[in-house]
Symmetry: C2
Subunit: 222 residues, 2 copies
DNA sequence: TAAATAATTACGGTTTCCCGTAATTATTTA
DNA sequence: TAAATAATTACGGGAAACCGTAATTATTTA
């Protein structure tokens, strides 16, 4: 089993709960807790310096603002920062976020090993996920996993996301085309942009561009 | 102090935490807990039937799905259902939601008495809020209260919201006008709708309708 | 390499949006 | 009640989006 685990979560009570139950049910020896991403990062650095690195990071995604200055603001930033130094550390996210597209992106972008939805069965699933991940497998909360596998998550390319992003920022199709040209992104003609947009509208069954942006926002893609 | 309080929250640990601390710090005698809105509603009904009604409802907003069939799905539905029967019951929401516009609407629409943001200082604020509400005042988490009072929350009328809603649903301005006519909502000419939209775009500094819808979605108005 | 296929771009017609102005109607004020 | 003001509606011109089709260019396949 994992030797040393770092738990980052801004609600002290939940943090303690996780630590306790992990200790009891999975037999992890050493568990450290942090309530701020910056603290977590410091503990991580310190552990490496002392030659006793962490095996596993369990972190939430969103952290409330506080009076303190913060460098790392979100769980994603924390993961990226830590993985940059120790790429092989296992990572499990434990969060409220339950939009399939988002979660899917965490596996793709951050290469996380497990995703557990906070909720009624959250802690149980978290324990499961720890043993699964320890055994080299990945884990996703069941409800979420089925939603993702249903494949009703239309696959968006980076290009499409960028297009939608600029659209939602109020750029015209012409301006988006200019932007693509400047940044050597192809295709970049107005005609092609229209065509892509049409495909997106068809896939999402959107009536027009406004509808499309609203829907993708609801789905958490933007 | 309140005699009998109902706490609805789907994470058992948080639920217990609230109950404990309320009991210790505010001296509320009887505290009942529920993890589902439907359960909460049943407990509420039963208490009234037995002639020992609740004084105060503390509830979260969002509840994860579960295997069970659910009638009441959100905290708002629970509040509305309970207030329909016992309009004078005090209500405090305890949730992660921290978008000013949303919170403002809870005070306006549901007529809640207190709003406490979950977070690092959440439990402390919750205790405060209980005594404040007991003394006939309202309470809002400080950070949120200042955000609301800064008045950068442009005041949207129901009309504007409906307009934006239909826009984000992909209706054309013409179709929105027809809808307004059918439902005897005035003004309903295309010209007037354009004018309203212009005002909204000006207020939100939006470049076009897409941008406007995207922004209001981000602000949690839609 | 030639042919076939796919991707990208160009273009024209139509609808909807955008924006200013003016006319009409409703409301307020003196 | 008359005048002033505000709200609503009408209208027209230009911009952007929408939609189909065709031409051009790239890529794949035989």
């Amino acid at each position: 089993m994992f030797k040393k685990v770092l738990v980052t979560e801004d609600l002290g009570s939940i943090n303690h709960g996780i630590a306790n139950i992990l200790h009891e049910r999975t037999g992890v020896k050493e568990i450290q807790q942090a309530q701020y991403c910056d603290d977590a990062y410091l503990k991580f650095r310190r552990a490496r310096r002392d030659g006793s690195h962490f095996d596993l990071l369990i972190t939430d995604l969103s952290f409330k603002e506080s009076h303190r200055e913060r460098n790392l603001v979100s769980g994603i930033q924390l993961i990226d920062a830590i993985r940059a130094i120790q790429p092989d550390i296992k990572v499990i996210i434990y969060s409220m976020e339950d939009r399939p597209a988002k979660v899917k992106s965490f596996f793709a972008e951050q290469g996380i090993d497990g995703y557990v939805c906070k909720g009624r069965y959250g802690l149980n699933e978290l324990i499961q996920s720890v043993t699964e991940v320890y055994n080299g497998r990945t884990f996703t909360s069941p409800l979420l996993a089925s939603a993702i596998s249903k494949n009703n998550v239309f696959e968006l390319k980076d290009y499409d996301l960028l297009l939608l992003k600029h659209l939602s920022d109020g750029l015209t199709q012409e301006q988006i085309g200019e932007y693509f040209k400047r940044n050597h992104i192809s295709p970049n003609s107005i005609s092609s942009i229209e065509k892509r947009l049409n495909k997106l509208k068809y896939n999402f069954k959107a009536k027009n561009a406004i509808h499309l942006v609203a829907m993708t926002k609801d789905l958490g893609l933007l």
